[in-house]
Symmetry: C2
Subunit: 372 residues, 2 copies
């Protein structure tokens, strides 16, 4: 692991770059706000750790009331369990002998749930659980519109749920019903419509399960772009929101009910970068490129610098297009708002937590690179 | 660091996924071919370690005749020196007190060169070198068309070279003249034209340096897309090629002299991925998404699977569009050719080296995440 870019107590201007900054006040407000959104309801919060990959932040979420976390990968779940998180939903299919064995071994030391969308995979999972003397909770993934994983019909859910229920080592624990492609529909009405469709499909599935004598423990889903609709639907039990802790430029382009930008959660994550070259009047070059930020959802924005754009990312360089009388000084440090927080975080080994412009903590990105 | 996805001696089908595979025969042929290209010339090869970030591969390149390596970051250079590489050109500006100190400290234990394009930065570098009692070779970066870093005119080079030559702790070592944006011009003639322009500007600069009594040690530049033209130009001394060791989908779209795809170097780098869901006839989902491959230069290609495309990358999922009677089996492993090798490698902790379908070595991606 690369050594940390900052020392506790330093001023933020002394942080080496490029480095992920977390504004702790904003982070804490985001965590509290999401928990407040379900206060007084029957819903539970199970934030997605794929966003931050940090056991420190996961533990803050649990302290605020979350019941556990979600992970996408078995190796991520292992790191969360090692970091003291005792209840993990792997919100994804687990395929391949190595991963099945690791998931089963992990279920011996924590409450682990996984998702399935294939009957052969149910058998493999049951065999792994028996081999390790483990009990694994299993959710059937229902495709509610994302066109990714998941079975397509309530009848298929029932078939898989029945197969799970027949296994001695597995327990049918409910439905995974996450609508990934709805999260970044820009118009509020489009997101509402997408989740209304998802909720209808979930309702139909719950009916059919009931008629087949299968009890559905929980319905899990929702992301930062749509959670208000899953809450309102009345059919979801757990929220899997992740990005709300940090936000990013892409979520910032979603519109609220009135057509304005969504504003409930704050940007708490920034990439600190240094101006490393000022070769011409039209541009400045910063030291953060493709290896420090992910551009899959667009370029980063400059925090507090209107009229200047991060125009192009090379491997280790970013080009800022500047105009008029604007100038940057060599060595000047700038905060970028990442285009997409999750894959950007995954590029880094450290979060530098700041409050009042000083470094309060340095947290490892514990599950950075946990792709298995 | 995440534990390795493979054991030496295993069959490749036992490698956990997603994982970077290196076909060692192809890697070795690529390394030998590039060295052959400069045999009998006065040119020297200084491969760019930003591509592989591996001290193991760097040492193979040196064993084949390379004089040292290039790095883009001081932290990368530190790791190369720790791995036994005694001669490193940081082909980039070094800005900020922390980095300058580290570069100067490193120059106490290896031959280190860095680039500059700013007179204030020359002073800072000289001060750091004096503070550490180090001697640092300095190349002036000349913008030869990339519109990124570098000074724009021969006169500015002379000014900086003179300032460097006046410093007791710095040595004016030559010119950095890399044309980044020419590397992926598709047409052979366009790349030739771009490098002809670069070589003209370098020649003019060499003339002016000479007239000012400044000896230019070396001219360094070239990438995998253009090196044949830098060789032919007669003005370059060192080649900084990086991607040739692996190649990728994007370099595969460059055209040779006859308009066909370039074919001198082979794909030696693959991302092994597993089919984790087969939910519908039109698609299969694999376990490699944005956290396992970089899509900045386009989606990965499927090796040996005509007519099937990797259509969409989510954080941890990839969607393959399939049609007709094609089917994938759950758990089937597929090799992807990354769109862009450098930032893809940077996502991983391990290379799995294979020969004859068996794992021969497991190498750490030594400088993964070395962004400072």
């Amino acid at each position: 692991m690369i050594s940390a870019p900052a020392r506790i107590g330093s001023h933020v201007c002394e942080v080496d770059t490029p480095a992920l900054l977390v504004e702790l006040d904003a982070l804490e407000r985001n965590i509290a706000r999401m928990q407040d959104r379900i206060a007084g309801t029957r819903l539970r919060l199970r934030p997605h750790a794929k966003t931050h990959k940090s056991t420190a932040i996961a533990n803050l979420q649990l302290a605020a009331g979350a019941v556990g976390v979600c992970c996408q990968k078995v190796s991520e779940a292992e790191i969360m369990v090692d970091g003291g998180i005792g209840d993990v939903l792997i919100s994804n299919e687990v395929v391949g002998a190595a991963k099945l064995d690791r998931a089963a071994a992990l279920a011996r030391r924590a409450k682990i749930a996984v998702c399935v969308d294939d009957s052969e995979n149910v058998e493999q999972l049951a065999a792994a659980a028996e081999k390790f003397g483990a009990n694994i909770d299993v959710l059937v993934e229902l495709d509610v519109g994302a066109n990714r994983c998941g079975v397509g019909t309530p009848a298929e859910v029932v078939r898989l749920a029945a197969a799970i229920a027949r296994s001695r080592s597995l327990r049918f624990a409910g439905l995974q019903a996450y609508h990934g492609s709805a999260q970044h529909l820009r118009a509020h009405a489009d997101r509402r419509r997408a989740i209304a469709g998802a909720a209808d499909k979930v309702s139909d599935t719950l009916d059919l399960l009931r008629r087949n004598g299968l009890e559905c423990g929980i319905v899990s889903g929702a992301g930062t772009g749509t959670f208000e609709f899953e809450i309102a639907s009345g059919v979801y039990d757990e929220l899997q929101v992740g990005s709300y802790v940090f936000m990013d430029a892409d979520y910032g382009r979603n519109e609220d009910r009135d057509g304005g930008p969504v504003s409930e959660f704050e940007n708490s994550l920034f990439l600190l970068t240094t101006v490393m070259s000022t070769p011409a009047a039209d541009r400045a070059i910063v030291d953060a490129g493709l290896k420090a930020l992910s551009v899959d959802s667009g370029m980063p924005l400059l925090a507090g610098c209107d009229g200047i754009s991060y125009a192009r990312a090379a491997d280790e360089h970013g080009r800022l297009d500047i105009g008029g009388n604007q100038r940057f000084k060599l060595g000047e440090k700038i905060r970028l708002i990442p285009g997409h927080c999750d894959p950007t975080v995954n590029l880094h080994d450290w979060f530098v937590g700041i409050r009042n412009e000083h470094v309060e903590c340095v947290w490892p990105v514990s599950a950075r690179g946990a792709v298995f």
